[in-house]
């Protein structure tokens, strides 16, 4: 059940600067760039209005709000470019920022690879601003937190978590007439329930707070924390695992920076010499799709190029990379709208991942498992081997033993050392893909997965 009634929303709300103000700021910077002698000028504006209520030990202990608008200017003169950012918006400060960018740029050798800035672009419309989220106040968040904490007290548990509501907008403009603006809201509720040394966790994240149900998440975490008490110690070895969507996203999130054309060019990608070859199971297809209904984010990239929908993995075969303007030119491709703000060394990355998924439920995965583990989430994931994409990390907040189709007990947390490439070859079942959120990777649309042969190497004390 949602906490607020659902109504149609649009993109207007008090708090953020108007699009006219953004446009005016862009024009001011363009004028200052011209006066200062820049051949080309680009500006990014990023405005944030965020509030976060944090609770622990069944009470609010931190409650914060922030407001900022950052102007970031890149100028080009004589084949040299540099970026300078500030949050001082008076004309003198903006002039100093432009001049500083020019001066910084002149300190380097001329770059023969510098491209002209892109001209006007057309962006698909995306509506990701919810008045209900923008209008959420500290008392609203406190009441929701209070309910979650009351549940914990009633169940003999201890709750900790956050309730976030915020608005942001970004704009990009340049002296060749490009202008794009985007705004969105974000609501997020995350909760950890603790009971007798055991923990569990649930988290949700949406543009519209009415799509977020804190009490449902609290109940879910509470129920799983109760299941997680008295864990037994199992031997670390290879197991069949059922990874919930948050566990999947945090692990596979580390894979997709390798789909950057720059990463392949730099030979630091696991896709070196592997494009077009079967690398994953045939049941794995992945798109980058900023326009998917489960995604958030602007319809343009850091260079102002419209984001394209890109098929990254087609039935187990890595088919396409993503390209900034620079790599696209070098590789004779079209830019895909995934470039980072220039200058940078990393080029581009897909940030709106959507997995194909399948039709099984987690319950069906459990029912089909003779001997395995159900994993709520993973933690502290780091890369061990960049080419085989071996990642290490821990299970956290609810690891459960599955025997003969049923959850039988909680288990102590394991350390894994697992190749993500191998893992995606061993996926036996998948749920439909859903918008999921974790802590180690950005939000994406992923399924839960049942995977055979997942490598656990050590066990911890709880």
């Amino acid at each position: 059940m949602s906490p607020l009634n659902k109504t149609k929303v649009d993109g207007n709300a008090a708090g953020l600067s108007s699009e006219k103000r953004l446009h005016d700021l862009v024009q001011t910077v363009m004028r200052l760039g011209k006066v200062a002698g820049a051949e080309e000028t680009e500006v990014h504006l990023d405005e944030t209005l965020d509030a976060l209520t944090r609770f622990a030990n069944n009470g609010i202990h931190q409650n914060v709000a922030e407001q900022e608008l950052v102007v970031s200017v890149r100028t080009v003169l004589d084949g040299k470019a540099a970026r300078v950012s500030t949050n001082k918006l008076d004309e003198d400060s903006l002039r100093a920022t432009v001049e500083s960018s020019l001066s910084l740029g002149q300190s380097q050798p001329k770059s023969p690879h510098l491209m002209l800035m892109p001209g006007k672009q057309r962006y698909p419309t995306v509506r990701r601003f919810a008045k209900a989220t923008a209008g959420l106040n500290a008392a609203d968040r406190a009441h929701a937190v209070r309910k979650a904490c009351d549940l914990a007290v009633k169940e003999g548990q201890v709750a900790a978590g956050i309730f976030v509501s915020g608005q942001m907008q970004s704009a990009v403009g340049n002296s060749r007439g490009l202008f794009g603006a985007y705004r969105q809201t974000r609501a997020e509720f995350s909760i950890t329930m603790q009971q007798e040394g055991a923990t569990s966790w649930a988290k949700g994240n949406a543009a519209d707070v009415r799509d977020l149900d804190p009490q449902f998440l609290a109940q879910r975490a509470s129920k799983k924390a109760r299941m997680a008490v008295n864990p037994i110690e199992l031997a670390p070895k290879s197991y069949t695992v059922i990874l919930e969507p948050a566990a999947v996203l945090d692990l596979v999130g580390f894979l997709f920076y390798d789909f950057s054309a720059t990463a392949v060019e730099d030979k630091r990608s696991c896709l070196n010499d592997r494009m077009g070859k079967t690398l994953f199971g045939k049941n794995i297809s992945v798109w980058d799709d900023a326009y998917h209904s489960g995604q958030l984010g602007a319809p343009f990239d850091g260079e102002g190029i419209p984001r394209q929908r890109v098929l990254l993995v087609d039935k187990g075969v890595p088919r396409n990379l993503v390209y900034s303007r620079g790599t696209a030119k070098r590789e004779k491709k079209k830019p895909t709208g995934h470039g980072f703000m220039l200058p940078n060394e990393y080029g581009e990355a897909p940030m709106n991942l959507v997995f194909s998924g399948a039709k099984s439920s987690i319950e069906e995965m459990i029912a089909s498992t003779d001997h395995g583990l159900l994993v709520t989430r993973l933690w502290y994931i780091r890369e061990v081997d960049p080419y085989e994409k071996v990642m290490t990390g821990m299970t956290r907040d609810g690891l459960f033993r599955v025997e003969k189709g049923k959850i039988t007990t909680a288990a102590r947390n394991f350390r894994f050392n697992q190749s993500v490439l191998e893992m995606l070859r061993n996926v036996e079942m998948m749920s439909p893909a859903v918008r999921a959120t974790g802590e180690e990777a950005f939000e994406m649309v992923v399924p839960a997965m049942k995977i055979k042969g997942f490598q656990f190497t050590e066990v911890t004390k709880f």
């Binding site: 944090r54 622990a56 380097q108 081997d385």
Partner: protein
């Protein structure tokens, strides 16, 4: 700045705050990088604003703004009060603060060469030279270098009368060579991985590191790693280089001693700690030669955790964390000190920026030097592996079980480094590991390493921490697990 900070405190007081503090901060940053002989990032930024923290109805509120006008900071203080009153709707108990004196002071970290005043051309030239030296070596497929400089001014004012201005200048530098060959990617870094060495110093840090001199060695080692022996899977003697030991201290001592983690305040994100309150003065953390301090004082060295006052106006201190192997102390703030029987905060509240609430953070968490010469440590090791320069790090959310891998290792046989080892890794349980430490090198081998990227808090804050360490030896350590599949 004092006028704006003071106005925000007046607004908070008028609206009923029992305590308030305000931090105006001005941060300037310069980032320079090269990649494969070309300039990569060339960027500079500045950010200025105010964060106001208030205590009302026994609960906290914090608001921040970049609107540095009287109206802007007044509205910010009023917003903080609203948040505090909302917090009180779901508070667990009233916040109690340990007493502290009011201070009026101004302090600046010492540096010899202001990196923001030196010609950019000189800085870029240095990076391009180091980059070129690495690219000279056949087999290197990617070269990267970086410089980062920050200048941070903060004006802290509190309702008990403190007015403290601090200025810090921070520098960082590093180089990395990567090699891809035969389905294997190897990497070597200097002076440390993940951005290099960082310290509360000026450009003199960069000169001391001498990136150009070390570039050929880094490049040669990365190519040689392809032909090196794979790290064996075994339990045995491990020697850690200073920078890797610094990170080991960070993860397996620094984080578990944060009292907010211990008290469950970070349970949803960063995690909790195995160091529950009953373990204070009751846990043999390590062998008798293990002595760890949390020392933010200038005399400890120019670490990323060095300051004159923390971000709630408490003077820098040195606290024993592990003394002669026994667990002796936590990192605390004014709110939590009384919970462990302290009359005063240990002075570890730190904030990343004006728009973040100060939280308990590591200062300089350092392992005191031992007595060994590094040559002797090798010479008196019959069979072991020396591991150096971090490649990956991971530890559970209560800080028991860890696994680290490093860029390079050396097999030691009969007191000599006999050959290079690739893909080294080791793992263990925190207290078992520190209780296996049998040798620590002396002061001459001790370096105050900077970790610039420690993440904690919601919203996330990144903080720089310092970790003094000299190479040390550990017995019966599990090695080689990360790469050795079952």
């Amino acid at each position: 700045m004092w006028e704006l900070a003071g106005h925000s405190l007046d607004v908070a007081r008028l609206r009923g705050a029992s305590y308030a503090d305000a931090r105006v901060m001005h941060l300037r940053q310069r980032d320079l990088t090269t990649k494969n002989g070309r300039v990569g990032t060339l960027a500079q930024s500045e950010s200025i604003g105010i964060g106001v923290r208030v205590l009302a109805n026994g609960a906290w509120g914090f608001a921040s703004t970049d609107q540095l006008t009287k109206e802007g900071v007044g509205a910010c203080a009023a917003e903080a009060m609203k948040l505090a009153k909302a917090s009180a709707l779901a508070k667990r108990s009233d916040v109690l603060m340990a007493p502290e004196e009011a201070y009026v002071d101004s302090w600046q970290s010492s540096f010899r060469k202001d990196p923001f005043e030196l010609p950019l051309e000189t800085q870029l030239d240095l990076l391009l030279k180091a980059d070129a030296e690495m690219r000279r070596v056949k087999g290197v497929t990617l070269t990267e270098t970086d410089l980062q400089f920050r200048k941070i001014d903060s004006w802290f004012a509190s309702s008990i009368g403190s007015r403290i201005h601090q200025r810090k200048v921070i520098s960082g530098c590093g180089i990395v060579a990567t090699s891809y060959r035969d389905d294997e990617i190897q990497k070597r870094s200097y002076p440390n991985s993940f951005g290099g060495q960082h310290a509360l110093q000026g450009f003199e840090l960069v000169e001391e590191m001498d990136l150009v001199k070390h570039a050929p060695r880094v490049a040669e080692e990365v190519v040689a790693l392809h032909s090196a022996r794979q790290c064996p899977q075994k339990t045995g003697t491990l020697i850690l280089g200073g920078s890797q030991l610094g990170l080991q201290i960070h993860e397996s001592v620094g984080h578990p001693i944060e009292l907010d983690r211990v008290l469950g305040q970070e349970a949803n994100f960063a995690g909790t700690s195995f160091l529950t309150l009953d373990k204070l003065n009751n846990l043999k953390y390590g062998t008798e030669i293990v002595n760890v301090v949390a020392d933010a004082r200038v005399e400890h060295g120019p670490g990323l955790g060095t300051f004159a006052y923390d971000d709630e106006g408490v003077p820098a201190q040195c606290t024993d964390i592990i003394k002669d192997g026994q667990f002796r102390g936590y990192l605390s703030n004014r709110e939590t000190a009384h919970l462990i029987g302290l009359a005063r905060s240990s002075g570890t509240m730190r904030t990343e920026n004006w728009n973040r609430l100060p939280i308990i953070r590591m200062t300089n968490i350092s392992l005191k030097p031992g007595t060994w010469r590094e040559d002797d440590l090798i010479a008196y090791t019959d069979d072991g592996i020396l591991m150096d320069t971090n490649r990956s790090w991971s530890i559970d959310d209560r800080r028991y079980q860890f696994q680290f891998s490093t860029e390079i290792g050396w097999e030691i046989k009969g007191g000599k480094k006999v050959r290079m080892i690739k893909n080294p890794s080791y793992s263990g349980i925190t207290t078992e590991f520190w209780n296996s430490c049998d040798a620590i090198c002396s002061r001459e081998h001790w370096t105050l390493w900077g970790t610039p990227n420690c993440g904690k808090g919601q919203p996330m804050q990144t903080m720089g921490t310092g970790h003094g360490a000299a190479p040390a030896r550990f017995r019966n350590v599990r090695m080689g697990t990360a790469f050795g599949q079952e």
